[in-house]
Point group: C2
Chain length 424, copies 2
C-alpha cells in the first residue's frame, strides 16, 4: 500500500471503486454498532455486581456515628470524603461528595457562578457583559456544552502532547472577561494525553486578570490506566495554594467508570474557603445527596490500593479493545498517510485526526453502514472543528468481536472520504 | 385552670414563679431533644431494611430491556415512571424520575427558569426587572428559601382551612410580575391541611397575566396518612389541561418519607410539552440519575396498593407521636386559651399558633432547656412571621418517651412566654 497522496488519479479511482464494493457488502450486513460514547461494556458492569450485596447488616448503615439512611451531612459521609481524598491526594475536608454524576456537579458549579457568582466574583456572571471560557481542543463535548448553554464565549486553546498550550492560556487570561478553563489533566478526553508536570505547574501559577477565574479540573480518569502501572499525578489543590491562589481550582472525579456509570458516586474538591462558599449556595438546593450509596462505595472500594486493584480488572477488559482499534489503524491506515492518532494508555478514547475536510464525510459513511460514532466536530467548541479533521473513537462499549467489525467499517469509510477529497 | 387572660396580675405572677421553678428543674436534666425538622425516626428507617437485599440477581439490573447500571434513559426507568404515575394518578409519559431529592428538582426548576426561562417565558427570569412569587403561609421554609435566593419578591398568601386564600391568589396573578406559587396540596407543611376540591379547581382555573406563571405543586405527603384511610386527591395535571393551561403546573413527589430520606427517589410530573422543554435543559446537566436506585424502588414498592400498605406501617409509628403532642396540648394548653393548633391526620407537622408576639420567646426558652425546634418565623417568607405566632412542631424524629419530655418542656415555655406577654 502506498500513501494516497502518491497515487495517480487512475489509481485512486480504482481504489475507490474497490472500496465502494466493500462498503456495499458491509452495508448489506445490516450492522448496528456503537462507538459514540465512553460507555463501559457489560463485562465491566458485571465486575462490580457484589456491590449490591453490601449494606445488609444494621451496622452497615452507620458510618462514623451517622445514620446514612436519614437526612443530613450535606458534604457527604466522612468516610467517603476520606476515600476520595486519598485517591485525589488532597485533604478530606476539601472534598464534597455528591450524587451519581460529576457532570451534574460541574454544571451546578457553572450555574451557581451564573446565578450568584463564585467566591471572588464581583457580581453574578449573568450580570457580566461578556463571559469568555477557555476550551482546550480537542476536548470533551459535554464540558463545552455546559459553558455554551450559559451563553459564554468559547475560546479554543490548542492541545499539545503536554496538555493545553500554556503560552496561549497565559496570554488569554490577561483578558478580565476570561473566567475559566476546562481541563482533563489525566488521559484527556479525547486525546488521552497526561498533562506534563510543567503544564500543571504553569496552570497553577496562572495570574488571571479576572479575580474569579476558575480552573474546572475534571480528573475523570485519575485511576483509569488500561496499560501499564498507575501513573501518579500532582495535587492541583496544593499547587494552586503554594502559588498563592488556593481558590482558583475546583477538581471533579467520580466512580462512574470505577463501579457503575449510572449509579456511582461523584465528588468535587477545592479549598476550604471555596467549599464553605459553595456549600452556602448548595444549602437551598438539597438536604443531602444519597449517603447510602456513598457508604456502599466506601465498603466496596475500601481505599486507593483496593480501588487500583479493581481498575486492573477493568484494564484487562479495556486493553484488548483499544488494541483492536489501534492495531487495525496501524495496519490499515498508517501506510496510507491519511490520518494520525494517539496510542493512549488510559482513559476511554482514541483521538484520530483525519485528512482535513474528511471527518464529517467519514462519519456520514459510517452511519450509512450502521456504525454510530461521536458526531464530527463534537470535540471542538460549538461542535465546529475548523479543520473538519478530529474523530473521537470510543471503543469501550462493544464486545471485541463487534468492535473489530466496527473499526473495519470505519477504516473503509475513512479511506473513501480521503479519496473523495483527493479526487477520484 | 383558667384562661390566662382571665387571671389577675397577682395570679399570673404566682403562676409564672411556679413555671420558673419547673423550667429550672427541666433545664437541670440537660436534655438534648429535637423537634426541628420532618425527619423520620429510626423505627421508620428500619421498616425498609430489606430494600438493600434486592438487586442481587442479574435480571434485577434489567428493566424493560434497559441495563439500569449504565448511562442513559435520562427521564428515568420506565417502570419507575409508571409507579409514580400510578401514585400521582397521572400518565407515565408525564413523569420524570430523578435522584434522591425532590427539593433538588424544585430548586433546579426555579434555577432553570432564572437562567433560561420556562416553556412560555418571553425571557430568562434573570432578565426580568422584578419576579414576584406567591407563598401561602404558614408554609415550608425550604420552598420560600429557593425563591428567595434567586431574588424574587415573596408575597404572603394567607392559608385558610381549605388551602391558600384563592381570592387573594386570583387577585395577585393579575400582576404580570407574579410568576408562580408554592403549593403543598395534601397535608400542607406545616398546617396539615388538605386543599379542598374547590381550592384545587380554582387553582387549575387561574388565568394569570404572566404567560409563564407556574404552580409548583409539591405533593410531598400524597400517601402520608397516619390516621384513617388513604384520602384520594384530584390529578392537578389533568385539571390544568381541562382548564386550558396544561403547562401551568409542575408536580413533585418523592419516596423520602416512604422508604428513606437520604436514599429515596424523587420525581416531577408535568405536561409532555413541559417535560420535553425541561429535558432539553436537563441534557447538559446530567447523563442520567441513579437508575439502580430507581429500579430498587420499583422492585420494593411494586405498586400503589403495596406502597399504601407500607404507609400503614409508618402510620403505626407516627400516630402515637402525633397523639402525644396533640393530647398534651389539649390537656395542658387548651384551657389556658393561649394557643390554637391543627389536629392533622397526615403529613409531618403540627402547626401551632401561639399568642401573637410569643413564638420567638417560646422557642428561645425551649432552646435554653435543650429542646431544638424549627426557628420561629421559618414558616413565613424571609423567615419573618408578622405576628410572631406560628410554631412548627415536628414530632417524627424522637422516640415517644423523648417526645413526651420535649413537649412537656415546650408547654412550660409556651406558658411562660404568654405570661411574660400579659405581664407578670
Amino acid at each position: 500500500m502506498k500513501p494516497y497522496t502518491q497515487l495517480t488519479q487512475a489509481e485512486r479511482s480504482e481504489e475507490y471503486a474497490r472500496l465502494q464494493q466493500e462498503f456495499i457488502a458491509l452495508k448489506a450486513k445490516g450492522l448496528s454498532l456503537n462507538m459514540a460514547r465512553g460507555k463501559p461494556g457489560k463485562a465491566q458492569l458485571d465486575l462490580v455486581s457484589d456491590l449490591f450485596g453490601l449494606m445488609q447488616r444494621p451496622e452497615d448503615y452507620v458510618s462514623g456515628g451517622i445514620d446514612v439512611r436519614n437526612y443530613g451531612e450535606m458534604s457527604g459521609v466522612p468516610a467517603a470524603r476520606k476515600l476520595f481524598a486519598e485517591i485525589l491526594d488532597c485533604k478530606p475536608e476539601q472534598v464534597f461528595v455528591g450524587g451519581n454524576s460529576s457532570l451534574q456537579l460541574m454544571y451546578d458549579t457553572v450555574a451557581r457562578a451564573y446565578t450568584h457568582g463564585l467566591l471572588h466574583s464581583p457580581r453574578p456572571w449573568c450580570r457580566e457583559e461578556t463571559v469568555k471560557w477557555l476550551c482546550p481542543s480537542p476536548g470533551y463535548d459535554r464540558h463545552f456544552k455546559i459553558t455554551e448553554v450559559f451563553g459564554f464565549q468559547l475560546i479554543t486553546i490548542p492541545m499539545t502532547p503536554q496538555g493545553p498550550d500554556m503560552n496561549a492560556v497565559e496570554e488569554a487570561v490577561k483578558d478580565p472577561a476570561v473566567k475559566g478553563i476546562w481541563c482533563v489533566p489525566k488521559y484527556s478526553n479525547p486525546d488521552g494525553i497526561i498533562y506534563s508536570d510543567e503544564t500543571i505547574r504553569r496552570m497553577a501559577a496562572l495570574s488571571p486578570a479576572a479575580p474569579d477565574f476558575t480552573i474546572l479540573w475534571d480528573n475523570a480518569y485519575c485511576v483509569h490506566e488500561f496499560e501499564g502501572d498507575y501513573v501518579p499525578f500532582p495535587d492541583i489543590l496544593s499547587l494552586c495554594e503554594k502559588a498563592g491562589r488556593p481558590d482558583m481550582v475546583i477538581e471533579f472525579a467520580s466512580t462512574s467508570k470505577i463501579t457503575l456509570p449510572g449509579a456511582g458516586v461523584a465528588c468535587f474538591a477545592c479549598s476550604q474557603a471555596n467549599l464553605a462558599y459553595l456549600e452556602s449556595l448548595l444549602v437551598p438546593q438539597i438536604i443531602s445527596f444519597d449517603k447510602v450509596n456513598q457508604q456502599r462505595h466506601v465498603l466496596y472500594l475500601q481505599d486507593k490500593a483496593h480501588t487500583l486493584a479493581l481498575m486492573k480488572k477493568h484494564a484487562a477488559i479495556m486493553a484488548p479493545k483499544f488494541r483492536a482499534v489501534v492495531d487495525t489503524l496501524d495496519r490499515e491506515i498508517a501506510p496510507l498517510e491519511i490520518a494520525s492518532w494517539q496510542r493512549p494508555k488510559g482513559g476511554y478514547f482514541v483521538s484520530l485526526n483525519a485528512m482535513p475536510g474528511t471527518a464529517k464525510r467519514t462519519l456520514a459513511l459510517c452511519k450509512e453502514a450502521g456504525v454510530t460514532m461521536t458526531g464530527a466536530g463534537a470535540t471542538f467548541p460549538y461542535g465546529k472543528d475548523p479543520q473538519d479533521s478530529n474523530i473521537r473513537i470510543a471503543p469501550s462499549l462493544p464486545p471485541v468481536e463487534e468492535l473489530e467489525q466496527a473499526i473495519a467499517v470505519f477504516c473503509v469509510c475513512l479511506r473513501m472520504a480521503a479519496l473523495e477529497r483527493l479526487g477520484v
